[in-house]
Symmetry: C2
Subunit: 350 residues, 2 copies
Amino acid sequence: MTTQAFGTHGADQALEAMTIQRRGLRPDDVAIDIDYCGVCHSDLHFARNDWGFSIYPLVPGHEIIGTVREVGEKVTGFKPGDRVGVGCLVDSCRDCGACDDGLEQYCEKGATGTYNGRDQHDGSLTFGGYSESVVVSERFVLSVPDSLDPARAAPLLCAGITTYSPLRHVKVGPGHKVGVIGMGGLGHMGIKFARAMGAEVTLLTRSQAKADEALAQGAHHVLVTTDSEQMKASAEHFDFLLNTVPVQHDLNPYMETLKRDGTMILVGQVDTVEPPLHTGPLLFRRRAILGSLIGGLPETQEMLDFCAEHGIECDIEMIRMQDINSAYERLEKGDVKYRFVIDMASLRAA
Amino acid sequence: MTTQAFGTHGADQALEAMTIQRRGLRPDDVAIDIDYCGVCHSDLHFARNDWGFSIYPLVPGHEIIGTVREVGEKVTGFKPGDRVGVGCLVDSCRDCGACDDGLEQYCEKGATGTYNGRDQHDGSLTFGGYSESVVVSERFVLSVPDSLDPARAAPLLCAGITTYSPLRHVKVGPGHKVGVIGMGGLGHMGIKFARAMGAEVTLLTRSQAKADEALAQGAHHVLVTTDSEQMKASAEHFDFLLNTVPVQHDLNPYMETLKRDGTMILVGQVDTVEPPLHTGPLLFRRRAILGSLIGGLPETQEMLDFCAEHGIECDIEMIRMQDINSAYERLEKGDVKYRFVIDMASLRAA
């Protein structure tokens, strides 16, 4: 089935309108008309081949909210008209330990990305949510609670689960002091989640300018990391640090703000740690550094339900599909509060 | 009280005989005649001021086994003639959260090292176990089970507890696959402990030459890390890696041998991580890196009792006090299986 989309034909090319093919329904498939799609920083990295494994044509988008149009004959959990979501994954082996544990993001044979992946049945390239519709196997489709605004729910599928999952994994709760490093799409969700889980939340930021915003997002405190007095006063303060910074930066000063047995959770940066990590802060206080990647399907559903229960949504700026290239330029400068979401009606209207 | 010792007056000087003063007994003090003292790699670092904070004269030694000579009036746990041990610490604030938890090594106000430390009462410099005797507050004195050979028990006070504590902390037990990286003083103890705790144990070593030794120490398997086929076959294999390597090395290839949710425990290296750590292996399998430093007093006693129960001792090479400088030379080359222990009778005989 021919579908309108926006994508790019090469690392140095702008995104433009293109047509792609969506497969006919397999028995377990759900066909989804896309209403909204969030713009993740990864979309930009993939479009420009920053990680070296982009395949073109490339249609980004893995924060998808839509409406079920049609379901395959074996689908039991969804029916036409249902509001649904699709995140970063559309398939996995479904047979390894990770998949059995509902942690498809860690599939031992490699999960299939919502875009830039290869369909496990026919080897076709997967295309993401910058498009009118998508066809996804039921296991990888999420139910979106009615009470959530669909546009503001879109970024939950990546920015939301990426921060929710590790906070749950380490069992953040009342009595914990949680520091969130960075306040972009991930960071502002981290603040909301940690607060809703009952923790005392601090935003760690280089600039006092973000203080008011952070408090408005639910942070109890702000720690300006460029202020050496504040940093000194925060030594051995946090149980957990949620580090959402997506680029190389010095981890060492942050490590000192963790209590004994504290953990820094890395969710943003996929790169070498430079300047290099010093092991001293780890050994001398039994601290840890832990990585975490998005979340599995059961936990993503749990996160959506948690958001409905606690009234948590993403703060977004809505854009038209046709404005994606200028949105990327602003995204590169960090000029968005806190996530662009594409109104896919703009693509249909074109 | 004047005591014979061996120490150094400067970073570039050999160790030599010297006399030091030991304090008279405070009410909570135990006076110990030293029988044996292990030679830790830290002793060498301190003697040569490798870490930049050595204070001279410096008398190394923090793997002390001795016999109680006299006790202060308030001492209840020891009496003259008891076999006792002293490890890396001789005091701490005794009032912070760490001390309350029996984790004096993480004392928030700074624990007092057995040597190169400052006594918390009179500010005098502490001198280590390369000496005839030592005076230590009861809380920092350990009871050595009769069934342990005293010379072979000495290195348990540092090399032993340094490996035992983190294995306990992460709850190593039956069903776990534990990899031990490096087979020096720490590594060979790590193998023994992990085995006794019920884990399946693998030595990771650069050289096939250590295979037979490792199996003799209790390892079930040996993984030669310079063999790319073996490394490839060991991807996502271990629950825990106990990394005992004391110098800078590339952590990244080891990280790939950890399962999802696996943890690398660093106990040997206090330095920057170079070549730099890549965060990819952490994020993509939710792996962690954890530091750990020796152990607290209650756990050190537990470790000694565990050794008695399981017949675990350190493999040592006995030396005379007068041979310490040549022992340091051999230690630098890794030419010791697996720990030098000084027979302190040699000092008294001199």
